[in-house]
């Protein structure tokens, strides 16, 4: 059964698997070095955004890529985290650097609450409802007294130079990205990972076989929402000003899914490929095209990938690797 998902944990054996990991570790080291010595504000800033999206997309990947539950409302949890930090700052003067974990908790609680009606749904319904909930939350935030509504909330500047700010968030988000990727890597190889894949491939069969689907989904969802909330909290400080439309923008949710699908949903490397590809290509295109044309082009790419390139980039690599292996083994084995 082909899917947009990468079916592959356990495929690479022994030294091949370590090559993959080593590659990404090398990339990580290179990025750390650049963060230390780089001076171009634009690059630091853009990469910072890339890392932030990697975190978000990895969070999405847990329930969406491995579990097959496509959440089209990551903005809800991201925004909840952002607002949680912002509100804690606005009323109590607490810095988001301190309150980010609390923001994560707030988002996780929101995730649990929202999960009550939504995690019972399958496929398209889950996707649609998670999307719609973002709009509902947007309205709530617009109208509740303590969120400052359309006026928005202003954060306090960190007192660093612009370059310093970008470098700070560069490392913050890079660190989170590495952490979360390691988490996803670990989940992939754990029982929970297998349970999620089982749910994705055939939830009813998984239940019959004894997988505690409800628990697994809830835990995955809570983890994903927590991570999104933490990132949201930090984002509040980075962007310095929050208001309901930008913070709960559907674009954030859409980008997350886009990056996962293009890079390879259901693979820990997926977001690592998808986020840079989408953001950097978008940035290059932005010079020649408006953001709307950008979006149109990306949506065509998504359609093509969803229908013709299952598994995104990682899927391609996987199939190419498998073909190579078959070719190597084919010659003596003809019977």
């Amino acid at each position: 059964m082909l899917s947009i998902f990468f079916l592959g944990s356990g495929e690479s054996r022994g030294w091949r698997r370590w090559i993959g990991v080593a590659f990404w570790l090398a990339v990580l080291v290179a990025l750390v070095l650049y963060g230390l010595i780089g001076t171009r504000l634009f690059y630091l800033s853009t990469l910072g955004t890339v890392f932030m999206y990697i975190v978000l997309t990895q969070a999405w990947n847990i329930l969406g890529g491995y579990g097959g539950y496509l959440n089209f409302g990551m903005a809800t949890f991201f925004g909840t985290g952002a607002y949680a930090s912002a509100i804690l700052f606005h009323y109590f003067g607490l810095s988001p650097f301190l309150t980010a974990p609390l923001a994560g908790v707030a988002a996780a609680i929101a995730g649990l609450l929202i999960g009550i009606p939504t995690l019972r749904l399958r496929g398209a319904y889950f996707a649609l409802v998670t999307m719609i909930i973002t709009f509902a939350v947007q309205i709530l935030v617009l109208n509740l007294p303590w969120t400052q509504g359309a006026l928005g909330i202003y954060m306090q500047p960190t007192g660093l130079t612009p370059l310093g700010v970008e470098r700070l968030f560069y490392f913050l988000f890079l660190g989170l990205a590495a952490l979360v990727t390691a988490l996803v890597y670990a989940i992939e190889r754990s029982n929970m990972g297998w349970a999620l894949v089982a749910i994705r491939e055939d939830e009813d069969a998984a239940e019959i076989v004894g997988v505690k689907t409800i628990e697994v989904k809830w835990i995955a969802n809570a983890i994903a929402c927590f991570i999104a909330g933490v990132v949201g909290g930090l984002y509040a400080q980075r962007i310095m000003y929050l208001e309901p439309f930008g913070t709960f923008s559907f674009d954030i949710s859409l980008n997350t899914v886009l990056m996962a699908v293009i890079g390879g949903a259901g693979a820990w490397q997926g977001p690592l490929i998808g986020a840079p590809v989408v953001l950097l290509v978008a940035d290059t295109l932005r010079v020649t095209f408006t953001s709307e044309v950008n979006r149109a082009i990306f949506s065509i790419v998504v359609i093509v990938i969803a229908l013709f390139v299952p598994g995104g980039v990682m899927g391609l690599i996987h199939r190419w690797r498998r073909k190579k292996r078959v070719e190597v083994n084919a010659a003596p084995e003809k019977n």
Binding site: M1, L2, S3, I4, F5, G68, L70, F72, I116, P117, T118, R120, L121, R122, G123, A124, Y125, A127, L128, V129, M131, I132, I133, F135, A136, I139, L140, L142, N143, R200, D204, F250, L254, V257, V261, T290, E292, V293, R295, A296, F298, S299, I300, V302, I303, A306, L307, P310
Partner: protein, 291 residues
């Protein structure tokens, strides 16, 4: 007091009819073909702009555009079916879903490229006139839009109920392989069915555009509305979708009378969540109601 209730009722019914026609296409395509057309509301939006352009360039009354939209969008729907939906149907469910979201974003982007994000209205001669019946004020546009919607819903229902092709389409949804064995070219008829769904969306867009302001971005809100109507009414049944549309319209106008505008949307989203919790049995897995 009575006139207030009367006007809520009248408004609710007229709006409800428009919601119903917005939901019918989605509901039938979902019920008969099992395709979740997330891009349905994007086509509704294009329908609104279809009427807008015809009015802006040629002064064509939206009432005429309503009827013109049907064959135009029917053709567009058939093309989209052959190019895209056939592949979505054979792909894994999640693959297909992502592709449909891609289509939705594509159409919205194209709409924004063509018309920017500015909010538009279609103001015709009768837009701000109304008639008074029994003390209740009825806006003429809403009356006309509602009547057009009702006409289309009725025609659709009659088509599915009384024509051989309509019955073949329903049969296809009830037992696809039996329909094939009986000689029905399911591919072709699916294209027609999908085309009809999009045609409904296009005409619904015209009706909506007559009454409400719109822009390419509002299409996503229309998706929520259409989805609400479909879930409430159950899949694939015109009469039920009509009833559901009326319920949603009435709830909206009743709520709007008592609470600030924004909260009305909230009420409806909460309603949606409640319905989903209560009716989840009918949603997970493949459930096609009697078509």
């Amino acid at each position: 007091m009575l006139t207030q209730i009367g006007s809520i009722l009248a408004d609710g019914i007229m709006i409800g009819l428009i919601y119903a026609i917005a939901g019918v296409g989605l509901s039938l395509v979902l019920g008969i073909m099992g395709v979740v057309n997330v891009a349905h509301s994007a086509f509704i939006m294009l329908g609104s702009f279809f009427a807008f352009e015809l009015f802006r360039r040629f002064g064509l009354d939206p009432i005429i555009s309503f009827f013109l939209a049907f064959p135009v969008f029917l053709g567009a729907g058939v093309v989209v079916y052959r190019l895209l939906i056939t592949r979505v149907e054979t792909a894994a469910q999640t693959q297909g879903l992502v592709a449909m979201f891609g289509l939705m974003v594509l159409l919205e982007s194209l709409g924004t490229i063509a018309w920017t994000t500015d909010t538009r209205v279609i103001t015709v001669g009768y837009t701000n006139t109304s008639m008074v019946v029994g003390g209740v004020v009825l806006a003429n546009v809403k009356l006309i839009a509602g009547a057009l919607a009702l006409l289309l819903i009725g025609a659709f229902w009659a088509f599915l109920r009384f024509t051989l092709m309509g019955r073949a389409i329903r049969a296809m949804g009830q037992n696809r392989s039996a329909a094939m064995s009986v000689g029905v070219n399911v591919r072709q008829l699916s294209a027609v069915m999908f085309g009809l769904g999009i045609a409904c969306a296009g005409s619904a867009g015209v009706a909506l555009g007559m009454v409400f302001p719109f822009s390419p971005n509002t299409q996503i809100l229309w998706l929520a509305w259409a989805f609400l109507v479909v879930i409430l009414g159950g899949l694939g049944n015109v009469a039920n979708t009509l009833a559901a549309g009326l319920v949603v319209g009435l709830i909206q106008t009743a709520a709007a009378a008592f609470m600030p505008f924004d909260y009305v949307y909230l009420v409806l989203y909460v309603l949606l969540a409640v319905i989903l919790v209560v009716r989840r049995e009918g949603l997970s897995g493949a459930t096609r109601r009697a078509i």
